[in-house]
Subunit: 216 residues, 2 copies
DNA sequence: TAATCGCTGGGGTGATCCACCCAATCGGGT
DNA sequence: ACCCGATTGGGTGGATCACCCCAGCGATTA
């Protein structure tokens, strides 16, 4: 009883890599690949896979929207998100769309396989650092109130540092601009990345652009 | 005979830093500050400065558009662009808008002062690495033909690497994806940054988003 | 008063980045 | 036959990153 999988990612090299990785597993079979959201929807209808490995950044419709539509028309198909995004926004949206798993691309291959097997059995797999976000969100109550933005958790000083970081400034120049020690800037940066669950400056830049903190 | 200057930048700390820097100079006087493009236009009319130090990334209208309007209504006012952007696109647009100088924020303070004094005398100051772009552009002929995009100068392989870089991938994972040595990826990265005149991954990310290579 | 939080800054460590340098191979065009 | 550009890969050195540790100070809150 193999798990029939449709790979969705706009990068051909990523699809190839995943195919090589997954085809070594006896219980997994790749039945198709799609490079765009619409292509994915069409292939789900045609190929009837058990599962879709879904990227979020696609050229036409987003992986989130594609997931929503798949869940509407073919709720029996499991969807595992495999993406570079680790911040709250995409994570929660993907969950709301009905994803059965969420694995960042930086995760170890074994974790993707774990997610695939759990999702195939009807479970939901969440990458540890993201599960933490979920727990934190539930503990901090007021689910009825206005949806919280991760940005709200940042302090004033952190927001100030974030603006510079997103601009592309390095630690040294931020320290000079704010008249504080580079070590303190690094400390703020660490706190920001922890709160937003980001792990590099490039992720910070993309986050800041999405949030409108800076323009590209 | 002092040069009366209006500072335009959306970051208060940047304005403060510039003010401190410039007020030490005997021949320079800061007559005002603006945080937005529209505010800048209003203050140019009201304060009649000799010169505007103009950031590009502003919350309302861009520094490029603001420069165009200033040059239309008050052509006697010199405009020096002071920005984090060093790629061709903004540089040429700012020149077309009529800027009298273009200095990246990473430049040494002395270079900004040089630009200010040259612009005040009616000259045009260009930061060396950008002047190089201008020269290259003129040497490579066909000025009447379709405007060249710096992206066109990239080779296929470089474009491939760029897509991964912009995605936030590190050298190691790109090397694995493309099945080449990390050193080769680094080599391509060096070439890309040279051709596009960018100097860090974060700048690359912003460039890629502007160009539509990736979405935020 | 005690506790918490924000901000400040110090130390360290391993990995990575980035700007330089170098060369070999291969294919296409003058 | 020759050069040139694209691609490949190696090395080096200084800076930075991402992630740990630690602490003091002041203001707010419990």
């Amino acid at each position: 009883m193999t798990i029939k999988i449709l790979l969705v990612d706009d990068h051909a090299v990523v699809r190839s890599g995943l195919r090589m990785l997954l085809e070594n597993e006896a219980d997994v079979e790749i039945v198709g690949e799609a490079a765009t959201g619409r292509e994915a929807l069409a292939l789900v209808d045609r190929l009837k896979p058990d599962m879709v490995i879904m990227d979020i950044g696609l050229p036409d419709i987003t992986g989130i929207e594609a997931t929503q539509r798949i869940k509407q028309t073919s709720p029996e198909v499991a969807v595992v998100a495999l993406t570079i995004h680790e911040d709250e926004e995409y994570f929660f949206k993907m969950l709301q769309a009905g994803a059965n798993g969420y694995v960042p691309k930086r995760a170890a291959p074994e974790e993707l396989l774990t997610a695939i097997r759990i999702a195939a059995e009807g479970g939901v797999y969440l990458y540890p650092s993201l599960a933490k976000l979920l727990v934190r969100d539930y503990l901090s109550s007021d689910h009825d109130a206005a949806k919280k933005d991760a940005l709200d958790e940042l302090t004033d000083r952190e927001r100030e540092v974030l603006a510079h970081l997103a601009d592309g400034a390095d630690t040294q120049s931020i320290a000079e601009a704010l008249n504080i020690s580079p070590k303190t800037v690094a400390r703020h940066r660490d706190n920001i990345m922890n709160k937003l669950n980001l792990h590099s400056r490039t992720e910070l830049v993309k986050y800041a652009i999405r949030k409108g903190i800076i323009q590209a």
